[in-house]
């Protein structure tokens, strides 16, 4: 009988293979733990643009519920698009610094000349692509959504070609259009291209003298009138989805619905290429001396000016065509909006200074000494307005473990309430209801409300909410009143849902500090100090952790 004895070499080979096989199996058994990585931006230009953006558009980040979604049929592009900072490039063109970022989209959006049902549109076969441009000129920032819509004759069914076209680079045979919109959805300007050359400017709505003109040509959704203006109906297809809070790149949409909006764009003038290089020409320039600036001082009032449309890099030095001079002028009317941004690091000095004020320190110590079963508190009232002397308002309790009622005044007799302090016996950070007292007072306090713009601005810049616990003291100030008011509006609509979200976020993350910062985003500054200390440190969230914000 034949014996199947293995030769030593074969046996050793089998052993080696088995060990390798086992290693493979063990390795395959281990599951990866994919953690969300926080954005790490090293380019200072991109960081500056990001800082400006977050200060200017903080409202887009606040009020996150367990899921986040935009409102039905929102035309506020700011709620849909945000810069994908990890996928951005910074460069200098002429005297401007430009950051071009891919657009992070809550849902999707596409321009098309198709008129199919909104829920039948295939976004993966869209012939448009939108990115965001953050442009800085002379310390003035502006942001634009740039939508490149390619003509089918250029794409030839290859939708991947769209990505060849960016602000700086455009295919030599690109035929289509470029649209610029501000983030409130306002059309800024646009240009048509034929074979990589700019041909004509685009106008939204009726073109000059385009009303009631004889239609000499009508093909599909394009109509050409006797003035040579060609009107094109562009359908914007929108996909609106919900996302989970920890899906910052909006990669897992659910509960999507679809709708469309339609806009007529007119191109007027000769359709022969008028010049231009690889990109479209600038119709206007970013205004000098206007625009919003990066906040760098305490309580700086920033004038936000809607900048002129973005200039386009002319590329190869070819003279761009003259800007359109006939109405409607594509240059937008400048609008000025007052807002206040308060940098937490810069404000730290004044926060510490106020906490060190002898009257305030004495009140805080007295509140802390009473940290027991019930809440204690008092108002921080200035004796004069403006001024820095505080009245010694009495520390008291309502005899409740979770409520304290303030007596807020704005007069020379009882003082000018510029802060509120109370204890949390359980050690939790300020709650949303605590924080909203600061805006409640502004709305309901008749004396403050009618005291004039100077007083209201003073209040907005200086009001603070202090919560004292046995292990920490917290101070909240308002970083961005626009964002804070937006948050308050959501709270007013349904304060139960707002608070339920806060409670659940705190319980899930085992931190009321986290919940507060997470829900209010950059609308507030949150400071913390050890008991009795006047060295307050601003807090922030980084990589799902509450950390001390590093200040210079």
């Amino acid at each position: 009988m034949k014996q199947f004895y293995l030769k030593p070499l074969t046996f050793r080979l089998i052993i080696v293979l088995m060990v390798m096989g086992l290693a493979l199996i063990i390795h395959s058994c281990k599951k990866d733990n994919h953690n969300i990585q926080s954005e790490t931006i090293s380019d200072p230009t991109v960081m500056a643009a990001k800082q400006w953006y977050e200060n200017s558009y903080a409202g887009a980040k606040v009020n996150k519920l367990s899921t986040q979604s935009i409102g039905h049929e929102s035309k506020d592009w700011n709620k849909i698009f945000s810069p994908y900072w990890d996928k951005s490039v910074a460069f200098v063109s002429k005297d401007m610094t430009i950051v071009e970022a891919q657009a992070l989209k809550k849902g999707d959006m596409a321009f098309s000349t198709l008129t199919v049902d909104s829920n039948k549109f295939d976004f993966s076969h869209s012939n448009s692509i939108t990115s965001l441009l953050i442009i800085k000129q002379q310390n003035t920032f502006g942001i634009y959504a740039m939508t490149i819509m390619a003509d089918p004759s250029y794409l030839k069914g290859d939708y991947g070609k769209l990505k060849n076209n960016t602000y700086r680079n455009r295919d030599k045979d690109f035929t289509g259009a470029v649209f610029y919109h501000s983030l409130d959805g306002t059309f800024i300007n646009g240009w048509q291209y034929v074979n990589g050359k700019v041909t004509t400017p685009l106008y939204e709505g009726n073109a000059p003298d385009a009303t009631n003109q004889l239609v000499v040509q009508s093909t599909g959704n394009q109509k050409t009138n006797t003035t040579g203006c060609t009107a094109t109906m562009i359908t914007t297809f929108w996909q609106n989805c919900a996302y989970y809070e920890n899906d910052p790149n909006f990669q897992h949409p659910f509960d999507c619905y679809y709708y469309t909006t339609q806009t007529i764009y007119n191109s007027c003038g000769p359709t022969t290429p008028g010049g231009g290089g690889s990109s479209a020409p600038p119709p206007c320039t970013v205004p000098v001396g206007g625009g919003s600036t990066v906040p760098d001082n305490v309580n700086k009032v920033v004038m936000v000016v809607t900048p002129d449309p973005p200039p386009i890099d002319p590329g190869g030095g070819i003279t761009p065509p003259a800007p359109p001079g006939t109405p409607p002028n594509p240059c937008p009317t400048k609008t000025v909006v007052d807002t206040i941004f308060i940098d937490p690091c810069a404000q730290k000095v004044s926060v510490n200074s106020k906490a060190a004020n002898s009257t305030i320190a004495q009140q805080n110590n007295q509140i802390r000494a009473n940290t027991g079963a019930n809440e204690y508190g008092t108002e921080q009232n200035l004796s004069t307005f403006p001024g820095s002397t505080y009245l010694n308002t009495p520390v008291r309790t309502d005899g409740s473990p979770n409520t304290f009622n303030f007596n807020l005044t704005w007069n020379s007799t009882n003082g000018y309430t510029i802060g509120m302090a109370h204890s949390h016996p359980g050690g939790s950070a300020p709650s949303p209801a605590d924080v909203f007292i600061m805006i409640d007072n502004l709305i309901t306090n008749q004396q403050l409300r009618t005291s004039g713009a100077t007083a209201i601005n003073f209040y907005k810049k200086n009001v603070s909410l202090t919560v004292i616990t046995s292990i920490s003291t917290y101070i909240v100030t308002i970083k961005n009143w626009d964002a804070f008011q937006a948050s308050y509006s959501t709270y007013s609509d349904n304060n139960a849902a707002f608070e339920a979200n806060y409670i659940n976020t705190a319980a899930t993350n085992q931190s009321t500090e986290y919940a507060l910062l997470s829900i209010f985003g950059s609308a507030i500054n949150l400071y913390k100090a050890s008991p009795g200390s006047t060295n307050f440190i601003p807090l922030t969230i980084n990589n799902n952790q509450v950390i001390a914000l590093p200040c210079p």
Binding site: L6, F11, I15, M18, G21, L22, I25, I26, C29, K30, K31, D32, N33, N35, S66, T67, Y244, E245, N246, D247, H252, F254, P401, N402, H424, P425, G426, G427, S428, S431, A433, I471, A496, E499, A500, Y502, I503, N504, A506, A507, T508, N509, Q510, S511, T512, E513, A515, L539, N544, Q545, V546, I547, A548
Partner: protein, 173 residues
């Protein structure tokens, strides 16, 4: 003979490896209760919508399971050293914040020790829907937290599942 034993041992090891539970946490080793079924996000969302009036289960978390009508979820947490709190302080903090919602009723909150690990367990309910939250103590500024959601009649079953789960937890080095 030796070769046969070696082959059998290898086979057994391979099978045991294939049947092992995946790495559910980067902070602790943890074993699921027998026959607990994993739910993906869509399944979790659907089940919770159909069976509960409200849910506090964080659907973005990876570990969501169901066993006998009880939802079990858990996730890793980490904290910066400056903001670390003792379980006693966390208990006071969370009980204070739960009081904000007048519809929530806290049934009990205890700090328990299982296998030398300390856990804060809070039992609270809204109507007939009950939540068992647990938080382990920190090791190297990391800990594990979880939520078990169930209907009031399933309370004993849910508490048993929590006990089973916590007994399997061992911090990784």
């Amino acid at each position: 003979m030796k070769r046969i034993i070696f082959l059998i041992a290898g086979l057994v090891f391979s099978i045991s490896c294939m049947s092992q539970q995946p790495n559910l946490s980067s902070v602790v080793s943890i074993k699921l209760p027998d026959k607990a079924e994993k739910l993906n996000r869509t399944q979790s969302s659907s089940y919770l919508k159909e069976n509960f009036k409200k849910s506090k289960v964080p659907l973005d978390k990876e570990n969501i399971y169901i066993k006998d009508g009880v939802i079990i979820s858990f996730w890793d947490l980490s904290v910066s050293g400056d903001n670390k709190r003792s379980l006693q302080n966390s208990k006071a903090e969370l009980l204070e914040v739960l009081k904000i919602d007048k519809n929530l009723k806290v049934n009990e909150a205890n700090i328990i020790t299982i296998n030398h690990n300390q856990f804060l367990v809070i039992n609270y309910q809204e109507g007939d829907e009950v939540y068992l939250r647990f938080y382990s103590d920190y090791k190297n500024n990391k800990n594990i937290s979880g939520l078990i959601q169930f209907k009031k009649p399933d309370e004993d079953k849910a508490k048993g599942l929590l006990d089973t789960l916590l007994k399997t937890i061992q911090f990784k080095n």
